[in-house]
C-alpha cells in the first residue's frame, strides 16, 4: 500500500509501478477478446492505423454529401448553418480566419475518423466504411486537395499532404509537470 502515498517521491513511485506491472494489484476486470477490442477501437491515427478496408471517390461522395450532410453544412459546404467544410485557404493569417477541414486540419485521417465516429449528427455510426471514404474524397476534392478521380482508401488517405500540416506549434507536443508558464500559456 506504500505505493499510494503521496509522500513517496515520483521516482520511487515510477519504479514501484514498474515492479507492480508484473502482477495485477487487485485482479478485477476481465480480459477483452481481440474481436471486442476491434469493435470498440474506432481511433484512426495520422499514419492511418485503424483504417478499415474499403474505398471511395469524390464522384461517389457527391450524392452522399447531398443526402446526408448538405442540410447542415450547406449545399456548397460553405454556407452552414453548421461548420463550413469547404474553403478558407489563405484566410488563417487574417482577422477573420475561416477554419475548415481544408484550410486548417493537419491530417486527412482525422476527417475520416470524425465523420466515421460522429457524423451525420443524430445518425452517428450509420455510414459504411465505403461511404466514409467516398464522402472524405468528395470533401478533399472540393477543397482542392485531391483530384476528382483519386481513389481514397486505407493506403492513400494517410499519404495526403494537407495544406496546413506545418501550421502548428509546438511541432512535438508535450506536457511538463508543474512547469511555470506565463499566464498558463505554452509557447
Amino acid at each position: 500500500m506504500r505505493c499510494y502515498s503521496l509522500l513517496v517521491p515520483l521516482v520511487a513511485l515510477a519504479s514501484c509501478a514498474a515492479a507492480r506491472a508484473q502482477t495485477p494489484l487487485h485482479n478485477l476486470g476481465r480480459t477483452p477478446s481481440a474481436e471486442e477490442i476491434r469493435a470498440w477501437d474506432i481511433s484512426i491515427n495520422p499514419e492511418g492505423k485503424g483504417l478499415p478496408p474499403g474505398s471511395g471517390t469524390a464522384k461517389q461522395g457527391e450524392t452522399l454529401y447531398e443526402h446526408k450532410c448538405a442540410r447542415c453544412h450547406g449545399k456548397t459546404g460553405t454556407e452552414g448553418p453548421n461548420e463550413p467544410l469547404i474553403g478558407g485557404q489563405g484566410t488563417l493569417q487574417t482577422e477573420r480566419p475561416v477554419r475548415t477541414i481544408g484550410s486548417f486540419w493537419p491530417f486527412a485521417t482525422t476527417i475520416w475518423d470524425y465523420i466515421n465516429r460522429g457524423m451525420p449528427q443524430y445518425e452517428e455510426g450509420s455510414l459504411s466504411a465505403d461511404q466514409v471514404y467516398a464522402i472524405t474524397a468528395f470533401l478533399l476534392y472540393r477543397n482542392g486537395i485531391i483530384h476528382e478521380s483519386d481513389v481514397i482508401d486505407a493506403n492513400s488517405l494517410p499519404k495526403i499532404q494537407m495544406p496546413n500540416r506545418n501550421g502548428f506549434v509546438p511541432p512535438k507536443p508535450e506536457w511538463k509537470r508543474r512547469e511555470k508558464r506565463p499566464f498558463g500559456i505554452y509557447h
Binding site: A21, L28, P97, R117, R181, F183, G184
Partner: protein, 418 residues
Amino acid sequence: MNTKERGRRRFLKGGAALAGLAVGEIRSASGQAIGSERPEVRPEDFRAYGERSRFVTSVRRDPRNPNSRTPLQDSVGIITPSALHFMVPTWIDPPDIDPWQHRLLIHGMVDRPLIFSMEELKRLPSVSRIHFVECAGSGDSLEERKKNGMLAETVQRTHGLTACSEWTGVLLSMLLRETGVQKEATWLVAEGAEPRKRSKSIPLEKAMDDVLVAYGQNGEPVRPEQGYPLRLVVPGFEGVHNIKWLRRIKVLDQPSMEKEETSHYPTQRPDLGKARWFQFEMGPKSVITFPSGGQRLPSRGFYEITGLAWSGGGAIQRVEVSTDGGRTWKDAELQEPVLRMAHTRFRFPWNWDGDEAVLQSRCTDDVEAIQPTLAEFGRIWGGVDSEYLKTTRNKVNHINAIQPWKVSRDGSVRNALL
C-alpha cells in the same frame, strides 16, 4: 400501532435529526421550535429527493443567453451544486446510460487489456478530490460584444464556464497499473460513450499524476449532464480533456490527433502565423462574484467583496483586490480550504462611500504565475494589443484577464473591461 402511527413516529425521529442541521430555518419558518405543537405532517409529504426553497431561483440557463453557464453571482463557498454545473455543449442531450451495461475498456500499449464494469470499478480503492472543471473558452468577456455589440453583463456570462465539485472515483494511475503500461507509451486517448464519441489525447505523465476516473460528484453519482455513470477528471486541464460518459482509454506512443486535437481547440497566433495546439492547463484566474455585473448595492456602507480564484497550475497562493480601478491593491483573505486545481474563495471587507468605484481582483498561484491584465494577456498570447482582442474574429481561448466591475453612484454594477 397502525401504519400511519408508525410513519408518524419515524417522521418525528427524522425531524429531530433534521432540527440539528437546520434549526434556524425551521424556527423562523414556523415561529417556534419543532415539536408536537406543529401541525401534523405526514411522512409522504417529505420529498423523496430534496428540493430547494421556492424562493431560490438561481439557474444555469440565462434567459438572454441559450448557453448553459454556472450562476457564479449566487455562489457561496467553493462547491458548485451539481444541478448548477455548466454544460458544454448545451445542444447534446446527455445519453441515457444503464450503469449495469456500461463498461470501461483500457487497451493499446498495455500488457493486459482490461474491461471493467461499474461494479468492479467501485470495488477498487477510491479517492475523493475537489477540483474545478473549466472550459477553454471561459472568461471571454469579449465574445458577446463581438456577436451583438454588448459586453457580457453578468459574471455568469463572463466566467460561468467553470464549476468546482468534489469528485469521487479511482485514480487512473491505479487502473493503468492493473493493465501495465508498456515502456514506449507516452500518451493516451480517452473516449466517451455518447453518440458523438468525443475523444481527447492526454499525456501519459499527466494520467499517472492525478487524473481521476470519477463516478461520484458532490456526494452522489455523477449527473447525466456531467457524464453519468463515469467520467474523466483531468485536474487543471482545459475542460475538453475531462471526457464524459467515459467508455474507452487507449494507451499510445503519440497523440491520436482526433478532432479535438486539430479542429476547435488550437488557436491561431497572429505573431507566429501558426496555431498553438495542445494547450493544457488553464491559467491563474480570479473574479469578484459579489458585487458583480447586473447586481445593485442598495445603499452605501459595509459590504464584503467576495469572489473565486483558481489555477490549472496548482494552488492559489495570493489574491489581491483593488477598489480604485487598479491603482492600489490589498491582499484578500483566502478562505480555507485552499486546494490545488480547485476554486478558492476569497473575501475582502469594504465600505462603500457612495462614489463611483471600480472593483477587481488578481491572483497568483503557487508556481508564481500571476493573472494578467487584458493588455498583458494579449502580448503574451500572440503579440497583440487589447484593441485586437476586442475586435478580432480570430478565436482566442484561455483568456484569464483581470475582470473589473464598475459600481455607479446609484449602486448599479456593470462590466468595465473596456
